[in-house]
Amino acid sequence: MQTIPMLTILIFLPAAGVMGLLCLRKDDHEWIRRFAFVVSLLELMASVWFLLAGVPLGSNGYKLEEFHQWISLGPHLDAPQTWINYHLGVDGISMFLVILTAFLTVVSILCSWKSIDKRVKEFFIMILLLEVGVVGVFLSLDLFLFFLFWEVMLIPMYFLIGIWGHDRRIYATIKFVLYTMSGSILMLIGILWLYNATGTFDLPSIQLALQHGGLVLPRSTETLLFLAFFVAFAIKVPLFPFHTWLPDAHVEAPTAGSVILAGVLLKMGTYGMIRFCLPLFPDAAKRFATPIAVLAIIGIIYGALVALVQPNLKKLVAYSSVSHLGFVVLGIFAFQTVSMQGAVFQMLAHGISTGGLFLLVGMLYDRRHTFEMSQFGGLCAPMPQLAAFFLFVALSSMGLPMLNGFVGEFLILLGTYQVHWNWASWAATGVILSACYLLWSYQKVFYGDITVEKNRTLPDISTRERAILVTMAVITLWMGIGSTFFTDRTASASQAVIDQMQRPQHAEEAIVPAPAKPSQPAPGRPANATGSAIAPIASAAPRPNSLERLGTR
């Protein structure tokens, strides 16, 4: 037992910051910025401090758990009382994602210092609210709570793009929200179905029930549930062919929005796959592994090829994300420890390097108010430092050894190759293509003669910008050279995901007949969403202790 609810603090510290911001005067921009910055910095320090200490090296399972019954749902199945719980916990995978979120929030606040000058107060409120949602997603262990944060996160993002975005911001933001929501609906149905079958929203309990045969899913049901969750996450990742919201959202979003969007929001999708799709529905995951891997590989190559021909620099970076996230999905669905470790690492590395690229593109935009590469050219001369940082980040993004991008990509491909050499071989072409689009665009923007007169006098990076970039460069190097610091800590959690996919034999037998019951649904109970041909054995099979425990806890 712990006395301080550390995870709650991590989630709601930014919310407290929002309260503070509300008390500040609307036109006192400088103090608003400073206050938001301090809050985000506190959050970063707290996350590093709490989580690195709270999740000891080599530990198994969830740490720093917090459990409270929250909303009573009345009797369900044979439990007298069921609950939506406030259940938080962290393991090696979510830990770094939270730290990454906190870090990128600081970065995005710093990079908006000058470039946001309208509705300043609202902007920083939205950024902090976004942080609440994202951190909540990574720390929730209750499906309902997870879904809640998943949706909460949409609202600030909607406004960030819609208010502070560029020309086509309304189109982009509506597209972003509708796209994501249509996936979320499916996930919601899946979550409700699971509650209906087990009487709980608690992730560890459902997992145990599935693992020990307390809940047996027939093949078709498992498939449907898997797809319900998977599509929601695939849209978020985004996996080809659900990716078309991404270029629009990125191009229209303000820099801070893009940094967080690419840096952490996309990781929510891959995180969801690791946390839900694989452990809960392993057999369906195995059945769908090949088509998903094919989509991931298409995404890798396709994203890279389309990035190659973009005249718009920000769109190019956006498509490169499609390509990079394809690697992550491939690593997850190879079901290898090595590739899973690589996928987790790549999620973090991509957050830093693509976040960095968006940051740099944003800096160019601040100076020239355009993303068109034809408007640039020869920028090495007026801004050598920015050019140097851009090259550095681009190299990390294309996976140069000793920088962060290499470790993840290498482990993913290495692990995948051990079981599917053809997947890995196709995916590895992405290594060539990433060099192509990044070097091509780098040349167009920074090399050659200056073609637009305005560019001749552009100022190089400011002290504030340099501070951000140097920090990111140091992290990039650290992750590239000292990668074991990260992989040692994610190892047991990644291994656990692989282990959870191993089901005892009896669970794979199909339908267990269940006694007929009156088909009238209990009042307040959600309708059986996936159709009537499903036979959960909630009342027939002996239920594991965890479910009993939760019913009375």
């Binding site: 389309v306 482990l411 692990g415 070097l439 003669d449």
Partner: protein, 663 residues
Amino acid sequence: MPILDHLWIIPLLPLLGSAINGLLGGKWPHNIVNSVALGATGLSFACALEAVREFVSEPNHQALVHRHFFDWISAGTFTAGFDLQMDQLTVVMLLVVTGVGFLIHIYSTGYMAHEGGYYRFFSYLNLFMFFMLILVLAANYVLLFVGWEGVGLCSYLLIGFYFLKKSAADAGKKAFIVNRIGDFGFMLGMFLLFRAFGSLDFTTVFQKAADPSWAHEPWGQFGTMTVACLLLFMGATGKSAQLPLYVWLPDAMEGPTPVSALIHAATMVTAGVYVVARSHILFVHSETAMVVVAVVGCATAFFAATIGLVQTDIKKVLAYSTVSQLGYMFLACGVGVFSAGIFHLMTHAFFKALLFLAAGSVIHAMGGEQDMRHMGGLSKKIKYTYWTMLMATLAISGAPLFAGFFSKDQILLGAYTIEGGKPLYAIGLLTALLTAFYMFRLIFLTFHGQQRYDEHHVHVHESPRSMLGPLVILAVLSIFGGWLALPAFWGGPDYFANFLAPVFSGGEASAAAAASEAAAHSLELPLAGVAVFTALLGFAVAFWLYIRQPGKPEAIAKSVGGLYTTLLNKYYVDELYAAVIVKPLLWLSTEVLWKIVDVAGIDGTVNGIAHGTTSLGDTVRHTQSGNTRSYAVWVVIGALVILAVIFLWPYWSAARPVAGMVR
């Protein structure tokens, strides 16, 4: 503190130099930048010497020295440490890299003195030294790959050093991307090795590969070795500019000349040869891979030499010559005489670095002119450059007792003695003829004959001492560097091969080369005679065409018009790649993937659904007309539907029993 236990110092010094110059050098005067860069490289060279001394003076100096410093990557069963190792092969590479590298650093202080971005240049050059040293010291494939990619990066930066020039930026980019294509193969090769051996450490992989029982494991049956070797070799063709990935190297001449000497002649481009030699235990297990290596090497040697015949840019000639000489090294590896390949790598580092540096001195003297058609008669004006370059030319042409003579002869001998190697030998010999010809063509066009430049515009002057010093040292090495193998001619010990024997014993013993040791020795002298005669012939033809009959080459070119233009345009390979790969790919990406699949297809569907929803709502809206009579009709229709359901439901559900159950 024995350096041997702290091998990391050797690469770290140049890295420090690079970081210091890169971060602070911008504001420093040249001499401080110099001292940092030269100090770092010089110290590194000194440390390397000391490490080598410790290594050879160890009582049991056959053994490989292996040091683990920290875990770099680890996941699941895979670990890659920051491990460095030293054996005889490393010793050779280490001395070549630090020694020649140091000389070229010295030369650069003179050559780059008047160029902008002085600190940037030395920062990159030191960074290159770092990665190259990692490459040769690495004790596993992953760490080797760090150096491998890193030198590619430095090559990119240095080729594109004059980034305002589009051709330079293009060339740098091309080098990196073509290398990446090779790296793609290299990575897959590593994955396969890990799959087969469960490790990427050299010692483990080679031990397991040498174990005869391994061949019977399931994976051993289906040509794993062959595939792995070919994939590694694909990486080598990229880095070492072999067919079909050689296209970047000639373009790389856009970089400053010291870069061409260091990276694109002496060190980086030989990395592919090094990898093949390092992995020789794998290669000798695969007949197919060996044949491929030999044939590709031999074909490249010949192919590049033919292009070199007609080039007019002094650096381009040397570039194709490098490609050609690298082909020789691969030929050596392919026929199983790895030590000869490494020997040629070393002598080539001496004389080719010298050729480039001397060419740089010529360019410097001519005020930037690189076209040999605008030179001529320079031998009197820049004597040091002339004589040193002549030494290097003699060495590369295989003049007796010069360095290249010994190494090239060993390769040709190896090709001759191997079973079925006669065609390779013949092509190799023909290439030697071409080499002698184009090299003396270069000498004659540049230094002899008519003066073909305007003396009022070009003020020819000898280069400063900082540039001439390295030239002289390299000239000495080009002359005597081959004598390590001299006694072998009289049946005595071949010091070089004996030194490398602990590394290659496993591989060469099984290769055919060593089997007929005695026969080889008796062949050595006659074959050397043939080679000398060939070189003389090449020299004579060049002499006749460019000194005796200066008008003749043009006439010949005209008479074989098609062939000449084909050679001049390098067989149109660049154009072919552009037309077959680059353009279709860009077209596909723009017109099909982006505009049709992405925008019209996927996004069109998404937006179509959105528009569909809107128009559906719009249609349904009209039912809310406010017209009472139409509402009445809807009420009646609704009532009818409900009645129908109520009455028909039992029949319907009876006909179709509910499967499973609803709780």
